[in-house]
């Protein structure tokens, strides 16, 4: 494989941003780095799924948070957990791996459902429908308190994953002062990324990947060639949603408790920012994009302290989001191909 300059630059920038974490945090840098890499892994995975939708197939999906949410909620509810105001305990449930698979399949199924409008709608309409469907999902989850715990959320489920934590993580974490459970989630997230990337690499140059790109370019021509564009779009929706579902499960395990405030539209926009930063239509781009993004996010708190004398939580969050918004705008205007995207394959002049 030829290594391009773009790739080297992305690696360099990622390395530099990790260095920055150490440079700016004389104390506790490794703990901060672990936290950041965990989030980067989970969000990166989600962005890889989004790239199947947007980068490969041209589907303007702004409901990505709901795919993550479906995966997370289905998986958690199927396992032993406690939910709701009273913390009602469900002590029986499926083993983690079975619940996870059902969760991912449910997310894919929800992708199919959400993909149905895509049969008839073009770009900007699809964006509105997907974001609205994600909102409906969120409102329903909030409302169905008896199942989802409503605004009180779900707790007491992390053991389902942590019971499989290998011993070396404990030893390793102890020596570096990590939280072993987060280190385990981080490892699982990055292993998931590895397998997802390998899987998608296989698909990228396959006839199926080619067909998706053809759908992205011109659906009418796809139909005229005797191909079922609708089915291809639905498949793309399912695959991307399944990947997002997996990342949603991991996000729930990283938080330790699941609340409805997690799967808001802003989560979708985060993932979009990561995808654009990494490179639309690329496979590995979101990985670099995600790490750099999270370094920016976690180090902006400093900026908040410069702007405000005693920044409170709201102000810290405000500054972060301010930067996310700016990042999305600036990238889209000045470097829409992101770190690794190909200029020739940009979706810029799509009308």
């Amino acid at each position: 494989m030829k290594i391009s300059n773009k790739f080297l630059f992305a690696v360099f920038l990622t390395g530099f941003s990790i260095y920055l974490v150490f440079a700016l945090n004389p104390e506790g840098a490794s703990r901060i780095l672990l936290n950041l890499l965990t989030f980067a892994g989970i969000y990166g995975l989600s962005a890889i799924g989004l790239n199947v939708h947007f980068g490969w197939t041209g589907l303007l999906n702004f409901g990505h948070a709901s795919f993550m949410g479906v995966g997370a909620y289905v998986t958690l509810i199927l396992m032993p957990h406690a939910a709701g105001r009273e913390g009602e305990i469900t002590s029986t449930g499926l083993p983690f791996i079975v619940a996870l698979i059902i969760g991912i399949l449910s997310a894919a199924l929800f992708g199919l459902l959400l993909g149905l409008p895509a049969i008839r709608l073009r770009g900007d309409y699809l964006a509105i429908v997907t974001i609205a469907a994600a909102e409906i999902f969120r409102l329903l989850v909030r409302d169905l308190e008896s199942i989802t715990g409503g605004v009180y959320g779900i707790i007491n489920y992390t053991e389902n994953l942590q019971q499989y934590r290998p011993n070396f993580i404990n030893n390793f974490s102890e020596s570096l002062g990590f939280s072993p459970s987060q280190a385990w989630v981080c490892l699982v997230a990055w292993i998931s990324i590895l397998f997802t990337v390998l899987f998608l690499k296989r698909l990228n140059n396959s006839p199926w990947g080619r067909a998706l790109r053809a759908v992205r370019e011109d659906e009418d021509a796809v139909r005229a060639m005797g191909k079922n564009a609708v089915w291809l779009k639905l498949q793309s929706f399912m695959l991307g949603a399944g990947i997002a579902g997996l990342s949603g499960v991991l996000l729930a395990f990283n938080y330790g408790s699941l609340e409805t405030t997690v799967f808001v539209p802003l989560l979708t926009f985060y993932v979009w920012a990561i995808m654009i930063l990494g490179g639309v239509g690329t496979i590995t781009g979101p990985i670099f994009g995600s790490i750099i993004f999270w370094v920016i996010i976690s180090e902006t708190d400093r900026l908040a302290f410069i702007l405000f004398e005693n920044a409170n939580g709201q102000q810290l969050a405000g500054v972060r989001f301010l930067l996310v918004g700016l990042l999305i705008m600036a990238l889209m205007i000045f470097r829409p191909s992101g770190l690794l995207g190909k200029k020739e394959e940009l979706l810029l002049d799509v009308k």
Binding site: A132, G318, G325, I328
Partner: protein
Amino acid sequence: MLDQLGNGLLLGIIISVASVALSLLYGVTRIVNFAHGEIIALGAIMTLFFSSPVDYRVLFLDKYSPLGYNFALSCILAVIVCGLFGALLEICLFRPLRKGNVGNIAVLVVTIGLSIFIRHLYLLFATGKVQDFPLELQRRQTYLFFDMTPRNLNVLIAGIVVMLIFGFLLTYTRLGKAMRAVRDSEELSSVSGINSDNIILITWISSSMLAGLAGIFQAIINDVRWNMGFLILLLIFAGTVLGGIGTSFGAMVGGFLIGILVQVSVGLPFMEGHTEAKNAVALAIMILILLFRPQGIFGQKERIS
């Protein structure tokens, strides 16, 4: 159900005015403006800024505030500020993008970034708290079938009047006709001697002014929040889509329908105890409309696909 009708009409007028603004902008520029909600919030925040009385400070603007202007004057000033803001956006951001031949999808993503950016600027520099306009409390009264305060009734009437005037201008003036010409084809209209840049600028200004007005309505009826625009943005999309995107009259009716639907659905039997989910009903209806009649109630078929 009927007692919710008054609330429905009030939510309806907010969404209706905002939908007309959104639809106008989309019609002429083809931009799906996710930052529309932020212009709505600007109207409310600016009114608060101009009108705040002595014992009332707008966070972070307290160097200038309180100005304590008369409320009506404050509203007018706020609407003007919104118009100027719209002009600023068009000249500094969207015109260069248009000249650079950036596609609609890229512009849509830009408006999302813009929306997040501006919204959190409000959070940081304007008002992180929920606030009210300095207006005296009023008692609800019954008009025909519905209950509302006299002030809210005035808001309702004012909104309808503004939209009627606006519709009249759009249909019968030279400028309105030019706008519709640009909407139908930018290239064609530039051939026929219409300066489409100016028309689009005026569209941005008028759309933003209307949005600002919707924000003032929302603030009078409810309150001022930094994310007030984003909270109703999807309902505005729903209203626009329901009436038929790109048609002003459709957006007006669609906005009212959505507002009434949201509030009346609270009274439906299966919604008992699920009032939080009332927006979900409106959004679900929007999705169904897009699936089965994507041109909306009043739209023409060829606009889609």
